[in-house]
């Protein structure tokens, strides 16, 4: 992953599509938070809005596409699917709440 690509996804103006894209992007990626958080900080310094960053961080941590096989094996299909999809939905909600309050 290059920083430019991530900036392309997360930077710029605020919109629903962008927040959704940020959430999906965070869900698919597996970046250690020690790398992702400084990156998010630098994105905000560069002028990105807080909302997509919040969506990105939340799904990056809560929804794991890469760890899905382990989760399926350990917890079963139903729990895994509900947990991940609910986390994805709530991540967008959290992001908008942060966008409103910050």
């Amino acid at each position: 992953m290059t920083p430019e690509l991530i900036k392309e996804f997360l930077g710029g103006d605020f919109s629903l599509i962008q927040v959704g894209a940020a959430a999906l992007f965070g869900a698919v990626m597996m970046i250690p938070s020690l790398i992702a958080l400084p990156l998010a900080g630098s994105l905000i310094d560069a002028g990105a809005s807080y909302t997509p960053i919040a969506a990105f961080i939340t799904t990056l941590t809560m929804v794991g596409f890469v760890t899905l096989p382990v989760e399926l094996k350990e917890l079963g299909k139903k729990i895994t699917i509900y947990r991940n999809s609910l986390a994805l939905i709530f991540a967008v909600v959290i992001a908008f709440m942060i966008g409103v309050f910050i």
Binding site: Y50, T67, V70, I79, Y82, R83, V93, M97
Partner: protein, 200 residues
């Protein structure tokens, strides 16, 4: 008559053993097949990746190897700990503190358990499965998983440092609320009795 029965019995036992041995062999064969299939799958992905992104290929391989090494180092230790806790932590204890009657204290304990460690997610899943097996309530397990994933204390420290205190506090509060909601919703939707067959 007795002797004949004995012979029959031993015959039966031998047959049983034979069947079991065959089953085991079949299991080993199935596992081998699975491993080979996975290897082929990753081989194909590697080949495709190399074809489309030749200049990034070495980076990708080195990162993958790093993750693989991390998993190989950590996972056996986790399995050992899981085995020990399976023996040593009684079901009644988990049921009392994290079970369906644990009310608010159980939720608090689940949050506390989740914030402490710094391990990656794939360690949390076996622990969560173990808790479910020991009659912890589903909402508590989901809270534990969610908090483990996104509200670890060391991670919050980094977040405050790089993004800002206000952002972190807001995210902490809203994430905690939504994790509770997710746990609550899932407990309402999913009938654990049905799934529990897989765990027991």
């Amino acid at each position: 008559m007795g002797a004949a029965k004995n012979i029959e019995n031993t015959n039966g036992k031998e047959n049983n053993q034979k069947i079991q041995a065959e089953k085991q062999q079949k299991k080993i064969k199935d596992n081998l097949k699975k491993i080979i299939k996975t290897l082929i799958f990753w081989g194909i992905i590697l080949a495709v990746f190399k074809y489309f992104f030749p200049e990034r290929f070495p980076d990708a391989v080195s990162i993958s190897v790093r993750y693989l090494r991390e998993m190989v180092m950590i996972f056996p230790a986790v399995l050992v700990i899981m085995g020990l806790s399976d023996r040593w932590v009684p079901t009644a204890l988990v049921e009392k503190y994290l079970g369906y009657n644990s009310s608010f204290k159980g939720k608090f304990l689940a949050v506390f358990l989740g914030t402490l460690p710094t391990g990656p997610m794939y360690i949390a899943f076996p622990i969560a499965a173990e808790l479910l097996r020991k009659n912890a309530s589903l909402s508590n397990v989901i809270i534990f998983l969610g908090v483990w994933a996104s509200l670890k204390i060391p991670q919050l420290g980094v977040e405050i440092q790089f993004i800002g205190l206000k952002f972190s506090i807001l995210r902490f509060i809203f994430t905690l609320i939504s994790i509770f909601l997710i746990g609550f919703i899932m407990e309402k939707i999913i009938n654990l009795e049905k799934i529990n067959k897989n765990f027991k």
